[in-house]
Symmetry: C2
Subunit: 137 residues, 2 copies
Amino acid sequence: MNEMTNEICTIKEMCDLYKVTPRTLRFYESKELLFPIREAQRRLFTRRDRARLKLILQGKRFGFSLEDIRQLLNLYDIGDQQKTQLAKTYELATQRLQVMIEQKNELASAIRDLKEMLQWGKKVLDSRGINIGMPKN
Amino acid sequence: MNEMTNEICTIKEMCDLYKVTPRTLRFYESKELLFPIREAQRRLFTRRDRARLKLILQGKRFGFSLEDIRQLLNLYDIGDQQKTQLAKTYELATQRLQVMIEQKNELASAIRDLKEMLQWGKKVLDSRGINIGMPKN
DNA sequence: CCTTACTATTACGTAAACGTCAACTATGAC
DNA sequence: GTCATAGTTGACGTTTACGTAATAGTAAGG
């Protein structure tokens, strides 16, 4: 190990660190989400790539598409020069939040409905002497 | 209109009633989810088909796949003869409920995280005199 | 030198749930 | 007869985020 090994890492190390497959990292590169440097054919991922990957994974959790994420990362990269761009990012995230809240509400209502159906089903089954357990919520 | 027109309806009427496209209904038929009768090439959807379609749409809300739904519908059709089958349906629904609850929790936590990020972003933007509004939750 | 472990590129496959399009057919209106 | 309207089948396209070979190059260890 030479000085500052932790500055760059191989594809395998990245995979272990972030629980992704090599295919995924190559795919992200092809989609211009990551820009590993090349050392004789091999990819070397920098601190910057790791930071970006973290954001990518977060973004996925939030339900952003990879294309959305790419654009957001570009905005970050262009940097804090243009307020419009920061505000734009903020706005996009806000919209996503709204969607997520709606999804959560719809999901909650679907859960209620399904629970109701299950209780009804349980009655039927009980009345026939069939025994089952309810979910432990 | 002859006696009991509301017994059967055309594909168009189905589409209007349930807000689906003709393609969708034909697709469901091809997947053996619906069994409209044929009157010289045309499909005629019966009360049974409408009942099934309602269940299909409900099932989709609950996140069941069409294949899951098909099997569940078959179980319902076979009817209340075999307790094992009823119990099986019940179990499947219970499992789905668990998954939905987990999804809701993950979604809730993602919402919390995103809100946090937004608050952080708001601070940055505020500190630069850029004005925006927070979501009304 | 040989094996083993890693990595690379290219390209086709996958999943779900339809959309889209082409080419017919049937029906009623005029 | 013929135009318009609706319906039909069949086949291929779409989307997203990778998976899965197949093939080949390279570097380290023994």
